[in-house]
Subunit: 298 residues, 2 copies
């Protein structure tokens, strides 16, 4: 059990990281933070966090270091690169990567840190920026069970549903399975609205019907209305889902697992990015289908 | 408002039709039934229903005729064909087609019956055999609003969520949009479990995680466990979903609406039927993905 006196370092204060760090502070944890751009840092220091000048410096002043960055190369850089967390490696330090990347990266990082006696958990999240703000994230964790147990209060400060999934990489593996569903559901929601619009149906009513039975989903209830209202602000960015789909495709290729649904939605998000809409929310996929059909959802 | 003294005719006593007819009887309606094979008829007559020898005879003894048959040709045959309902056409008769087919068929039937002063509603359902047994179906209705209003008590005897969607065909249009989601969700559930199995994850735990967040769906919660338990008994048959996907593909072709997700899952169910698994439940799609990947979900 980690006491609140534990010092937490937080690297990556983006759309997800900033509210997660804030929730830790609300629960009484002392934070040292680091971010590439400085604006978010000032916001956190004004609330009482200490600012560090590098990931290494974060680790020097912390017992547990959490990173929440965008991409696998970023994770490797802040943890294993120059001025990275590994340069402050010591027995007793725990590192938690809450970014989404591949199980293979998680296993590689766990190995590199274990050589320096640093504990490591891969703990990606689901629930978007709303879940991050509300402290209701689902967190899926891989690594040693005893390390998971000791970090549970930290996870509970940021999320509602905390799952121990198995050894290193199991958290990331679970997250990729989650993203398979999230991506394909976004396609289902979009195609259904496009077809409904073609039929001239009242789309608000259509969503109500679909949500009441065997077609119901989180995606339909949460992204469906946004598509109808032409609200493409990101809860989760299209570019980030595309990155996750890329990880899944690579795994599927290596293992020779044919995933025709993932392949289809992967190509469509490739089109979304070509359309310069990667910074929009994943529901922007609907606009790419509109483009393919030369027809609007309305 | 239709009084319980209204005489209801019911044509088609299959997996869905039989429990729907039974629920009408439980609510006190007098039923005259017809089915191609006789075993289900005996079951209903033993409960007090009258048996008819043709759809025409059903209509002669009824104020409201409901049909719940498999395919568009069956619907046209029992309603418009020789010895069909139309041969008993008269002012005051109402026909409700609760089968799933295309909006175009609904409009065609509505027109043919209107010439004979017969009212028509298209009212396909969602919720599977379980919903039919429990009387909790979602029912999506197209046709004249006043006819819908007068039939509401009949619908409420079979379903929980009753939706008026607009003019003739709107019920079928809504159902096809529902099937877009149902089919693509089945692919999402199947691919996610296949990938999770490849990663060696505990699949029961995986479903729990996925169901708790942005990946949650009726499909995942209801069909996911069946796939893991190798239970491929039909709640809704793969062959029937394939038929619906075919209707959707035809509509999409005519309207030039590209639906890449539907197209993918349509082809996969084509494979399921080639694999002689059309009589299994839709979740049997997972076994076709296993075949493609030469790998089991376990």
């Amino acid at each position: 059990m980690i006491a609140k006196s534990v010092r937490i370092g937080f690297i990556g204060l983006g759309l997800m990281g900033k509210p997660m760090a804030q929730n830790l502070m609300k629960r009484g944890y002392n934070l040292t933070v680091y971010n590439r751009s400085s604006s978010s840092i000032q916001e956190l220091t004004s609330l009482g966090a200490a600012a560090a000048l590098s990931p290494r410096e974060v680790a020097e002043g912390s017992d547990v270091v959490i990173d929440m960055v965008t991409d696998a190369p970023d994770v490797e850089q802040v943890l294993l690169g120059p001025r990275g967390v590994i340069e402050a490696a010591r027995d007793g330090l725990t590192v938690i990567d809450m970014s989404t990347n591949s199980p293979r990266i998680a296993t590689k990082i766990a190995g590199a840190l274990a050589e320096k006696k640093v504990k490591f958990l891969d703990a990606p999240v689901s629930g978007g920026d709303k879940g991050a703000r509300d402290g209701t994230l689902a967190i899926m964790v891989g690594g040693e069970k005893s390390v998971f147990d000791s970090c549970l209060p930290v996870f509970q400060s940021m999320g509602k549903s905390i799952f121990y999934m198995g050894e290193s990489g199991a958290g990331q593996a679970t997250k990729l399975c989650n993203q398979v569903v999230v991506a394909i559901h976004t396609l289902a929601t979009s195609e259904s609205l496009l077809l409904g619009s073609t039929f001239g149906l009242n789309l608000d009513e259509l969503l109500k019907v679909l949500g009441s039975g065997a077609a119901g989903s989180w995606n339909l209830s949460n992204l469906g209305p946004k598509i109808i209202q032409r609200d493409f602000e990101p809860g989760f960015k299209a570019a980030h889902l595309y990155k996750d789909l890329k990880s899944i495709m690579h795994m599927a290729e290596e293992e020779n697992v044919m995933l025709p649904g993932v392949a289809t939605v992967y190509e469509l998000f490739n089109g979304v990015l070509a359309d310069k809409k990667g910074e929009k929310g994943t529901q922007v996929l609907a606009t790419f289908l509109e483009k393919l059909a030369s027809r609007e959802i309305k």
